[in-house]
Symmetry: C2
């Protein structure tokens, strides 16, 4: 069950020149489905990546960071990504790192490239060694299925799922200098944690030709307002990995520096893929019955973000949303708990949907409970907070979250037998 | 229902020389019980106080901070405290502040002191004006019931309750220089939020003679390891107020400075009252079925605290506790999410009770699931985390929290009709 999210059909997915995808079933967990994804990138592809900040980052994340550094140091690109679902290879120490490395070496053998040109991603159970032999055994099969079609993207989106109820994939195309540039992406996770850690993974590919540092800066910006602007319960997993591949095969003159005006169009295209994918993760959050958008303005970026996440993380606010209860007191309390140094409570205003409920720190005189109820009874709800600070840069940030329901407790309080 | 907490009987409560308490029923909410507490302090009493950091602090908190400053500036003491339950007088703007001030003026008239010698505390509904006339109407009644007895302390503990299921009161006595010094305290709240905000309030009194700045520093330290070392869901209310009164009437030479060796004994006595009260708030947390102690060591104080609170706040860890599930992955993830800059995952060890479960970043080879289960099935559970950092000051901190259950969602997702 997801809040108003329709999974993509193959018809809506555009292929990306230079990318092929193949899946296989390693049976790492006892699932009747493909659980391994191999992505092959033609020579000339470069990668940008954003990883989890969790200090217990998994072995594959450690390896990928190392490899990305080597790629940039030696002017190499990305030639492949191997993803497995069912075991996160996290909390596995030196042995886990060795197994991640071994995986990259086996993939490199098959793709005829260097190991450091292969990135490894895992998602699933933590603190159990990766059954690497099972994974390696199916690599030839995944390679034999490498395919550039739209269907292969859908198969890929399915092979990386853990607690997701629907696959997540989307495409867009933009015209730059009269030529089409395609962006296609898939994502999974950050659903509620089952016994497995519901890692957030996303793989986006474009045929745009672009310099590596420009691509990394662009991807980081895009991630900042999409994948890093969603939250379910405040936890980031040990494995979050967001990788963007640029194959360079579009017939467009290369984008070489930060000031290229075509970056505006390209960024919009990336957002047209990243935002819906990130929001789909929320819509598919286990137990989610509400899709909540929180806008905060009227202060600097850091303060606006602190306030937004404080509201989004508050169990008291989230249970009120579950109850469709316009509980102003809890939202106000969550704003105050973000404790930004110079927040003047007497300047704060709050809207639920289009209804002004708090006017400069006090209950709005125009506010009637039934108007608040009307807004809160919808599945999709907008909150807008104006912190009313006059001297700081007037930032505007938007994040997305979901409610906290009985299903959340049920799913997460199941004993793991 | 509370996790193994027995409310105090009057027999166990010691009176404090210089303190009288009286209660009354103002019917601010439609409760069949006393909801107003008046505390009278004889001349010579000084106050120490710690308030909420929430930027939306309530009108009474703003007033009390002002009054405390005036008390210190002009060498005045505390002569009275007026507490009402049912309305927090928060989010009420200038009108709310005026009503809090008016309350202090009325109490001052009755106690024959100056308004700034009276502190005002409120707990209850947010964003509705305090029905101050109802409160003022019963002040004479509360004053007529002023009493120094043990029973009056119990009545006081009851009069300040909102979402608590049991009153919380405790006493201790220590011998200093051959003379008895008494410490008695009451507390309420920080239970789960009903439609009302479950503010944390505590009023502790001692007959010790002590200089005001020494008392404030001591109280702040004690609060730091007790009331500020508990958390239910990470939110602090708009009204949290922790007030310690020292009447000076014990027959002990006054404590005049920070280096007085008798402060060691006095601090222990304060902790013997503050710690059980703070823990009682957790044990009585609505929906709580587990009382969880989290010890963190092996790094500096700030890092240990960040890690401890990250674990205590994680809904994923808390639902696992509800399920009695020794889910190591979630605890590890929560530790990593505290993202202290120099956390080396490979140095972290974790014990559930006496069972080593994570040994330097990896699953302990000696760990068997059934040993973890044994610990998690208890109502009271200890977690110990060693961050293993060698170069920093080796701090040790302890905090307390409870689990996240279905009852939590049920209670907090009720529509407020």
């Amino acid at each position: 069950m997801s809040v108003r999210y329709q999974p993509a059909s193959a018809e809506s997915i555009l292929t990306v020149s230079g990318i092929r995808l193949g899946t296989a079933s390693a049976r790492i967990k006892n699932w009747e489905r493909d659980d391994v994804l191999l992505i092959e990138c033609e020579e000339g592809t470069i990668a940008a990546a954003v990883f989890t900040q969790n200090r217990f980052c998994a072995a594959p994340v450690l390896l990928d960071k190392e490899y990305l550094t080597l790629q940039r140091q030696y002017g190499k690109g990305l030639r492949g990504i191997i993803v497995n679902a069912g075991n996160a290879n996290a909390g596995t120490g030196a042995e886990g790192f060795a197994r991640a490395k071994q995986t990259s070496e086996e993939v490199a053998r098959i793709l005829l490239c260097a190991p450091e040109e292969v990135m490894v991603c895992s998602t699933g159970v933590i603190m159990e060694q990766l059954p690497v032999e099972k994974l390696i055994a199916v690599l030839p099969q995944a390679a034999s299925r490498l395919d550039a079609s739209s269907e292969s993207w859908i198969r890929a989106a399915r092979a990386i799922m853990t607690t997701d109820t629907v696959h997540k994939a989307i495409s867009t195309q933009v015209i730059i200098d009269g030529e089409p540039v395609t962006v296609t992406g898939i994502a999974k996770g950050a659903g509620m944690i089952h016994p497995n850690m519901a890692t957030m993974l996303s793989f986006i590919a474009s045929d745009v030709p672009i310099a590596a540092d420009v691509w990394q800066a662009l991807w980081r910006d895009v991630v900042g307002v999409s994948f890093n602007a969603i939250t379910i319960d405040g936890d980031t997993s040990t494995n979050d990995s967001l990788i963007a591949m640029a194959t360079g095969q579009a017939k467009v003159p290369p984008i070489k520096n930060q000031h290229d005006p075509r970056l505006v169009l390209l960024k919009e295209a990336l957002l047209d893929v990243a935002l819906p994918l990130a929001q789909a993760i929320i819509r598919d959050g286990e137990g989610a019955s509400k899709f909540i958008t929180i806008h905060v303005e009227g202060h600097d970026v850091e303060t606006c973000r602190k306030v937004a996440f404080s509201v989004a993380h508050s169990p008291l606010v989230k249970t009120a949303f579950f109850a469709s209860d316009p509980n102003l007191g809890r939202i106000i309390c969550a704003i105050g708990n973000a404790t930004p140094e110079d927040l003047d409570a007497g300047r704060v205003s709050l809207w639920l949907g289009d209804v002004l409920v708090v006017d400069k720190g006090g209950r709005a005189s125009s506010y009637r409970e039934e108007d608040g109820q009307r807004v809160m009874q919808e599945e999709e709800i907008d909150i807008r907070i104006d912190l009313g600070h006059e001297t700081h840069q007037n930032a505007k940030i938007t994040i997305w979250t979901c409610d906290l329901s009985h299903d959340y407790v049920t799913i997460n309080a199941e004993y793991r037998t």
